[in-house]
């Protein structure tokens, strides 16, 4: 064993440790400082922690795929490009979301230090979720994320609205967790394993009891649809997005969605990537296609009727879930059943994260003076009052709509191209549906810009802005990055392609586990060489 070429386990999981430490620090600071003192500086501390973890992730990315030498960790976490890439997206989202809260929370009379601890723990759960390589790690990570976000949704304790949001999220979320556990139990019953790669192996053998596994897959799919807010399971989304404090909604729309998509995409493609599951008796591809179409229509049509910006963004999030799901249909398979992802899913999640943070950032800015209903009155004439914020809002809306020169456009283009290439035009109809939906969405996205630029401020209720440098910085940075990624997408696309392609390594990784102690020497060379080049455009 050559110790020089391997990175120690502690270094490999250092991003998780850094974020966990930040959460604990924030928790202790919250309780040891006077109750009514300004707690916003903790936001900077936690954001610094996320930045530090991001640096660690970039450092690890250069050496990935990494293998952990400790056996229990080795089977629990897979620190490959896929996990690291999505972790980076989550950390960017978490960093910007933490900055939006610094001055927003005091304006809502909810400035408690625990907020930042909970944000750090939620982000920790998300990071572990996209890296998890077995069902139990996955479940624990998902619960850590979910429980932290349930509390955050009800963080504005004096508001019945916020409490109701937390209650609804908790009840539906717990139901989804129960379905997930049931799914895990059934797949374990059918395969005798909780590790993704071993489940795939067991299912490939002829003695596998497919009906039981398929029942489990249906349960897992339902939990997945709940967590990403896909159409028949989306009812909680508008109420929760609207009721939760806006900085929490920003985290929910970005981090939770990225983690759920990343974690479940890895689970389905690694454990159930078998052709019999994707297109056979009970094809999850078809289920996902139907749900994607339903999500696009439900989200876009309902968004047309919304007056409240937060509620409209919630329905738009449902529609975007539909677009992102298309990327899972396009997963290419090689002859030996190895499945990987193109750059579309991860790139789209990055673009969506940036645009959402910018949009919710502006939604927090205009909800000064404890405004809960961010309706048109709240931002009409914003361009005259505060041109910078209006510009950020406009960029966010254009990117969500998918206008060229923004990240949203490249994301949609990549996913649509992938679906057409990957399915040999079999899914042409679904791309047509998605394009029609993009056109529908133009109406409500452009209306926001119209109201912000063309309409005058209501005289009886002037706009109350939260004056905050950190909030403007976070939203502005997000909008700026949206444009940068849209104008020069090549690096982000290449990284996303590398991340998606690294899913194909899971088989090589499983094969190299015969004796865990030999993993070090094996993993460095052949695993990277076999990664397919999935970049396009």
């Amino acid at each position: 064993m050559q110790a020089a070429t391997t990175t120690s386990d502690l270094a490999i999981i250092s991003p998780l440790f850094i974020v966990c430490a930040m959460g604990l620090v924030a928790l202790l600071v919250a309780v040891f400082t006077p109750k009514d003192s300004f707690k916003g500086w903790l936001g900077y501390v936690v954001a610094f922690g996320f930045a530090l973890a991001l640096v660690a992730v970039v450092w690890l990315w250069k050496q990935a795929p990494l293998t952990l030498s400790n056996e229990s960790l080795f089977f629990a976490l897979s620190v490959d490009h896929f996990g690291l890439g999505l972790t980076a997206v989550i950390l960017i989202g978490g960093l910007l979301a933490a900055l939006t809260a610094v001055d927003y929370l005091p304006s809502q009379r909810s400035d408690h230090g625990e907020y930042y601890a909970l944000v750090a723990f939620a982000v920790l759960g998300m990071m572990a979720m996209v890296m998890s390589a077995d069902m139990l790690t996955f479940f624990v990570a998902l619960e850590l994320m979910s429980i932290s976000v349930y509390v955050l949704a009800g963080f504005k304790r004096q508001s019945a609205f916020s409490t109701e949001a937390a209650m609804k999220y908790f009840v539906t979320g717990s139901f989804a967790s129960a379905l997930l556990l049931l799914g895990i139990a059934f797949t374990y019953g059918a395969t005798g394993s909780i590790r993704f790669t071993e489940i795939a192996e067991a299912l490939a053998s002829p003695q596998a009891s497919l009906p039981i596994a398929q029942f489990g897959v249906v349960m897992l799919l339902a939990a997945f649809f709940f967590k990403v807010a896909a159409a028949p399971f989306h009812m909680w989304t508008p109420d929760v997005y609207e009721g939760a404090p806006t900085s929490v909604t920003a985290l929910m729309a970005t981090g939770v969605k990225v983690a759920a998509f990343g974690g479940f995409a890895r689970m389905f493609l690694t454990a159930f990537g078998d052709a019999r599951f994707r297109t056979g008796d009970l094809p999850w591809e078809t289920i996902i296609a139907i749900v994607a179409v339903a999500s696009m229509f439900a989200g876009n049509l309902m968004a047309l009727a919304q007056k409240n910006l937060k509620r409209m963004l919630a329905y738009s999030a449902i529609a975007h879930t539909g677009y992102i799901m298309l990327a899972m249909l396009a997963a290419p398979t090689s002859g030996d059943g190895t499945v990987w992802l193109g750059p579309g899913l991860i790139f789209y999640l990055l673009g969506y994260t940036l645009a959402s943070i910018a949009a919710f950032g502006v939604a927090s800015v205009v909800s000064g003076n404890d405004v809960e209903d961010v309706n048109e009155v709240a931002y009409a004439g914003l361009a005259k009052r505060s041109p910078a914020h209006a510009l950020i809002l406009a960029v966010a809306m254009l990117s969500l709509l998918g206008i060229p020169l923004t990240a949203g456009f490249i994301g949609k283009l990549t996913i649509f191209a992938e679906v057409l290439d990957g399915s040999h035009n079999e899914y042409l109809w679904i791309v047509v549906v998605a394009v029609i939906n993009s056109i529908i969405s133009a109406f409500y996205y452009l209306r926001v810009i119209l109201v912000a630029y063309m309409r005058d401020e209501a005289a009886e209720r002037p706009i109350q802005l939260v004056s905050s440098r950190s909030l403007t910085l976070a939203a502005g940075l997000a909008a700026f990055l949206t444009l940068v990624v849209g104008l020069v997408p090549s690096r982000a696309l290449m990284a996303s392609g590398k991340a998606g392609g690294s899913l194909a390594d899971s088989k090589a990784r499983a094969a190299s586990t015969a004796t865990v102690n030999d993993v070090h020497t094996e993993a460095d060379a052949p695993a990277t060489a076999s990664a397919p080049k999935a970049t396009k455009l």
């Binding site: 386990d9 966990c20 604990l24 309780v31 400790n70 009891s209 009906p211």
Partner: protein, 127 residues
């Protein structure tokens, strides 16, 4: 029948037996037992407190805090106990011993910080 379901046959048999036995006992009790109901006999605890009250009756959140504290430390023991029984065997393995000790210390540290938080927030003050 699909041979995959063979291991579940005993489960099905037991389920049917349990439900059937319960039904038979209840039915026999109903048919054979003499019944002279009074109001006192009708309540769930014949000589206890009346358990029925308004569902929205308020009770102190302190009970809840105590229950949470108990659960946390109860579960801590559940984790530590099996760890402790295996620890001696792990000590022999030079590579794994520090990992075994370190991960448990980290777990206890996180819980201890949680305890500090609770204590300082006043969850343990009854008054």
């Amino acid at each position: 029948m699909d041979p995959n379901y063979a291991p579940y046959v005993p489960v099905a048999v037991v389920s049917i037996l349990v439900v059937g036995l319960a039904a038979v006992i209840l039915l026999l009790n109903r048919m054979l037992g003499p019944r002279r109901p009074t109001r006192e006999k009708g309540i769930p605890y014949e000589s206890g407190v009346d358990p029925v009250s308004h569902p929205r009756r308020r009770f102190s959140v302190k009970f809840y805090m105590t229950a949470i504290l108990f659960l946390v430390f109860d579960l801590e023991v559940v984790f530590i106990y099996p760890w402790a029984t295996r620890f001696k065997a792990w000590l022999a393995d030079d590579a794994f011993a520090p990992v075994a000790l370190g991960s448990m210390l980290f777990f206890v540290l996180v819980l201890a910080l949680g305890l500090v938080y609770e204590w300082k927030r006043g969850a343990m003050n009854w008054e």
